[in-house]
Amino acid sequence: MPIPRTDLKEALQRLRDASRDLLNIMDELTTDEAILAEYGKVDAAIGSVDGIISGEGQKTSFSEFLQNVGCSLVRAQEKLDEESGAYLKRLQSGDRDFVQPSVFRIPKMSAEMKFAFGKIDSKRVGLIFYRRTSQAREQHQQSLTFELATAPPPPETIARLRREATKLEVPSIDLILSTADRDVILKPLRNISPLGRPIDRTRVLIWAAGGKSEYFLARAFVTDPAGKVGLWHLDLSGEEPILKVVVPFDPGIDPDTRAPLRAWVLRLAEAQARFWGAR
């Protein structure tokens, strides 16, 4: 037979109160910490029905709550970012010279909330939010006021942030374009064809291979109908440079298979040359 919810709540309430009365009586009868601690566990277990009796509201943790607030603020700012972008585009397309371009931002946010504590330990701080006004008045004894603000990071952090952001968002290869760095890398290869000639120095693609002082180098000839293209690994971390061939610079080996690689190297080498030409 189903038990009405109100009866169940009353029964739990009586059990809870009886347990607390028993604990009070035991507290008067004995000072034995071990006995009290043992019964304290029983009382705590029975105490777990508190939430059912009171019809407790939403439970969350302190950190989850703040994270949610932070997330909401970031989402709201992102929405504003979009609107700002759309607004700037409308300004550019229309005849509105008299309107100053603006972007919209939320510089800070303050909030105050009341809650009751749930379980607290070093890893998690439980919070309870009550829905019913009467419960809120009775149970909400704690309050939290906080202020979130925005701040520009230091310039060096922004630079690092952008690098990190690029890596996170679009995996890419950073070609080494600094002539000073390239000179250091290519210096030991002066006598090695097809990497050591002056013309090669602007046409060789160089990028970091991951390890310290390790690089990949790629070179293709534009005019060579046989489709020469090579890929090397250069290790400058030791006393002597070590150059290993990854893809031999040999037109006789499977030219059709190597054609896409050749086209890619040529395209980047062209862009690289234009980069220096433009400077």
Binding site: D27, F62, L66, G70, I120, Q141, Q142, A149, P153
Partner: protein, 453 residues
């Protein structure tokens, strides 16, 4: 519904757990805002950080046979409870460098004396102010007025109006403060009491007395008050450590999120406990033990080499400022007919007197029964062209509301003027309950000096 009881010794770790989460959460929020930085189309370099977090706890201490406990919300089964609150604010530190770690051993304890309490109660002084048989253990000497000339000395204040001996020294002349029987009432002359109220008011408005260094007693001799104080100090120490532990090490390699983060410190840590004490300085168990409350305040301050704990006590029922005092004065302002009648002035003049005297008015509770307070309000100002002091007494209904302060209303027909006249007037007009309040106040301060100092 009853809240779980926790052993007092577990209070610090619970508060520290919350404090530590502030740093963790702030780091999470920086990380969330970094995601926007990565996604945002327009490239505004901004990240979020937690500028200030203020936590206000309200909890209760309970005294039981097996020790002291605390719990978060008040239930009907616990009778012996002390109201307490804790205000902790976590803010970005002044420097990114981590200061020295705070430990319990590094705490310096100080007691802030009320500015008008004389602790040099020598036999010569006591003899010179008419209390030759008194000793420092059974009397208190209060310094009134701007100089050191006016003294109110009370021997055995806890014996009440019938057992205490009061002397008042003014301009070098000492008199016994005795009641006079008028119309079957015992009434006292007002000058020493008005001077004392003025001194208490000045104290409430920011006056601080000498700061005495104090030392916690050994564990075996710790009173309930010291036990609570030390656990609160421990809560501060553990909270500071929890915040420090969750911050990136100063010499380690910082992750991006740490580079953008902020180093936090505890900016404010102040706890107030409404104390009900027995004459021995223990928590009062029976209601009749104690009709008088004291508010203990513990303020922790970060010092270059550690931290200090400042302990201060004041009577919470004495109001020289704040929202509750304003609520009482508003209630009086809302009854111009009664005010006019007791002041013997026209309504407009009575209201003007109240409004002009509001800033310096004091309110104190001399009796309390559930929702009804009997309060005395002392006002000074110009009434009908004469400088006067008015001491009014009335019953007020005080009902808790969802927000502070409670709703206060003057109960019709209860307002009476105990005294309206020039402050130098020397007619016996002060009734027994006001003198009783002063004696209880003096007894509590004396008790406190014994407990803490």
């Amino acid at each position: 519904m009853q809240s779980p009881l926790f052993r007092l010794k577990s209070l610090p770790e619970k508060i520290a757990a919350v404090a530590g989460q502030v740093t963790t959460s702030s780091r999470d929020i920086v990380a969330i805002s970094l995601e926007r930085f990565v996604r945002m189309p327009l490239g505004w370099p901004e990240t979020l950080f937690m500028k200030r977090v203020q936590l206000r706890w309200h909890f209760f201490f309970a005294r039981r046979r097996t020790g002291m406990f605390f719990f978060w919300k008040k239930g009907s089964l616990e009778q012996i409870v002390l109201d307490a609150d804790l205000d902790m604010t976590v803010v970005p530190g002044e420097s990114f460098e981590r200061g020295p770690s705070i430990t319990m051993e590094g705490i310096e304890y100080c007691f802030v004396l009320p500015p008008f309490v004389r602790i040099d109660r020598t036999a010569e002084l006591l003899a010179s102010i008419g209390l030759p048989e008194a000793s420092p253990s059974n009397c208190i000497v209060l310094e009134l007025g701007p100089g050191e000339q006016d003294l109110l000395a009370i021997k055995d204040p806890r014996k009440g109006v019938d057992g205490a001996t009061i002397t008042y020294t003014r301009f070098g002349k000492t008199v016994r403060v005795l009641p006079e029987r008028i119309d079957r009432q015992r009434l006292w002359r007002p000058q020493p009491f008005i001077a004392l109220f003025e001194a208490i008011r000045a104290w409430f408005l920011g006056g601080e007395g000498d700061v005495l260094p104090i030392r916690p007693p050994p564990k075996s001799r710790q009173s309930d008050v010291w036990k609570m104080l030390l656990q609160l100090v421990s809560a501060y120490v553990q909270s500071s450590q929890a915040i420090d532990e969750r911050q990136p090490p100063p010499d380690g390699k910082l992750e991006l999120v740490d580079e953008l983060g902020v180093r936090y410190d505890i900016g404010r840590f102040e706890s107030r406990i409404i104390l009900r004490l027995t004459p021995e300085g223990e928590i009062a168990v029976e209601d009749e033990d104690d009709p008088f409350h004291l508010r203990l305040t513990l303020s922790m301050r970060r010092e270059p080499r550690g931290a200090s704990a400042l302990v201060d006590v004041r009577p919470p029922d004495f109001l020289a400022g704040g929202d509750l005092r304003e609520a009482f004065l508003d209630a009086l302002d809302g009854a111009p007919g009664e005010l006019s009648s007791v002041l013997g002035a026209k309504e407009a003049e009575a209201r003007r007197f109240l409004r002009e005297g509001r800033d310096s008015a004091v309110v104190f509770r001399v009796r309390w029964e559930r929702d009804k307070d009997t309060d005395v309000i002392v006002l000074d100002g110009i009434l009908d062209g004469t400088c006067v002091v008015a001491m009014l007494r009335g019953d007020f209904s005080v009902k808790a509301t969802n927000s502070d302060p409670p709703a206060v209303e003057l109960l019709s027909g209860t307002l009476e003027a105990l005294f309206v006249g020039p402050s130098q007037m020397d007619e016996p007009v002060v009734p027994k309950d006001v003198v009783g309040y002063v004696l209880q106040f003096a007894a509590e301060i004396q008790k406190w000096l014994a407990v803490v100092v």
